[in-house]
Amino acid sequence: MKDDIDTIIESGLVCPVIESALVCPAPINPHSQILLAHGGGGRLMQQLLDTVFLPAFANPLLNARHDGAVIEFGTTRLAFTTDSYVVQPLFFPGGDIGSLAVNGTINDLAMCGARPLFLSAGFIIEEGLPMETLQRVVASMRHAAHAAGVTIVTGDTKVVDKGKGDGLFINTAGIGIIEHPLRIAPDAVQPGDAILLSGDIGRHGIAIMAMREGLNFESTLESDCAALAAPVLELIHAGIDIHCLRDLTRGGLAAALIEIAEAARLQINIEESLIPVVQEVQGACELLGFDPLHVANEGRFVAFIPAGQVNQTLDILRRHPVGQEACLIGHAQHGTAGRVTLQSRIGVQRIVDRLSGEQLPRIC
């Protein structure tokens, strides 16, 4: 075996680090296959990041585990991010895969405190997709990009055999510029920071679920899909000393707060009665046995700021359509690092934990 390796090395086909490569750099993942739950934003996905991607690509920018990487060129700071969109159905109340793909990447840049500038768009299209569907999606992307002031400057198209895709998958990557000296990152959170939530939670996940599963509400529940850059940039412009921002996508509010608590090595305490949830979302969650804390959003974020700036921040957020219901939901503090606790409605504290994968509807 050793001889074989030497031969390969001598052939110049691979570099000599192959010997160390024989020692697995990552802990062996307990799952021999990828399960859907590995993409659910829960503990399994975390495991995948910890055991496969982070060890393989480790570098300081990636290790920051932010929504995007913040890259410095001299005095210029850029934010760079990417995200793929596989939502089904392609069109849903409040949005579609196109607006989602544009807003989602804009939001990842905004969460770095950046002004989003340029996006790329990659399309993986399944053979047989109606042309009209693609045109509607593209028009929606153009509209969303225009509304947020970003330009789609490069792209790619691939068509796969019928049955090898699910209609349409979109990848977008984005670049934004950071025009202020703030360091906005999970590990910049300070003890005593106030946690503000930009609006009610759970709309996107439940709207998609309702459409997919044929649940009907008295009124149409719309996804919260929206671009969040405008309120964030206004907060920065107004001098709010933002320590961390995070949009609440897969895994919901719970997963976002746990990730931040772990990175900041602080404890986060929130209060259940302060977290707004609209009646349709709460009702659907009661029926299905879901917890709104874990349901996905596409137009909501949390901001960690000094406690003294809460009122000013809320005033600014509430002037924006996406922040009208903004509210204070809790604080960060010393305590058990990485732990998120919630004061329940009846006044008792409990842990907020990551789920294994996606929430599954219960039996009864």
Binding site: P27, I28, P30, Q33, I34, L35, L36, A37, R43, L44, Q47, E213, S273, Q279, Q282, G283, E286, G289, T336, G338, R339, S344, R345, I346, G347, V348, Q349, R350, I351, D353, S356, G357, L360, P361, R362, I363, C364
Partner: protein, 373 residues
Amino acid sequence: MKFVDEYRDKDAATRMAAAIAQVTTRPWTIMEICGGQTHAIVKYGIDQLLPGAITLVHGPGCPVCVTPVELIDKALEIAALPDVIFCSFGDMLRVPGTHRDLLAVKANGGDVRIVYAPLDAIKLAQRHPGKQIVFFAVGFETTAPATALAVLQASQMNITNFSLLVAHVCVPPAMEAILAGPHNQVQGFLAAGHVCTVMGYTEYETLAQCYQTPIIVTGFEPLDILHGVYLCVKQLEEGRATVENQYARAVRRAGSRDAQRLITEVFEVTHRQWRGLGTIADSGLGLRERYAGFDAERRFGAAAPGATTAAECISALVLQGIKKPQACPAFGKRCTPEQPLGAPMVSTEGACAAYYRYRRPPDSRATLQKTNP
């Protein structure tokens, strides 16, 4: 939200907890039967509002938890067959059989689908006449009427590509098994409100009398559970043992006659094995002979006995209220929701999973990372 918020009111909960403290003079152990109640107790921290003398222990009322491994293995075997669409309620998908779970079968190409009602499986059978549609009929008396309705509909419509893997269980025989057990510690029960919505509570009156144990039919919201505990403690303190109905907004003494008729038409009472508890006489529902054509075990072969649970797992003791989840040496270390040794760690309504999710000690996350390979 109406019908929810008023039962989660902090002031009312505090007042109810004070009332419980006032009537409590001695230690009492009370078991809530239903996994939904267990989940609410741990999630809202209801037990932490109670006086120290009251111990709540958690019963076997999580259908996912008590479904025997043999049946899950059978489900996995059927679900992996090429021309089968296997339908299940969502929270069965992660329950481990001997070697894997339904999600793993799905990842390997098995057609496994989550349904919200058994009638959804009938619709699938109509849409896919070339496929065999198998529904995993799990649950207590609460879900049995809906399963029965699906069987009746399939029978009336002559749908032949539909069958059931039946794992239905009944609550009262399990309660009796616990009360009659040599190590029983349960002095009072909170009965499962939803089961009683269907079955009523006349069956419990005999139990309460025979075993001199108060049984309170109880709902699922924090105030329901606190009120149930209050009524139970009051009876215990006064030396009474009757059935009381706390959940009167949903439950009548006779239950739902229509739902019961459906169950009786389609099912007969059988012995049933409970994961962790063993076989309990007359504790399950099986298809009557005239509907036996819908029995997946006849169509695809019977479940093979002999599957075992990990030796370290104490779920049998947890399900009988003899031990609490944290008393298990594997809890949070070798047994986690991702790699469960026993079913109570899997279902969101299982007692171990509820404690793991809401009560894990601060160091177990670190321990978990260290011990996982």
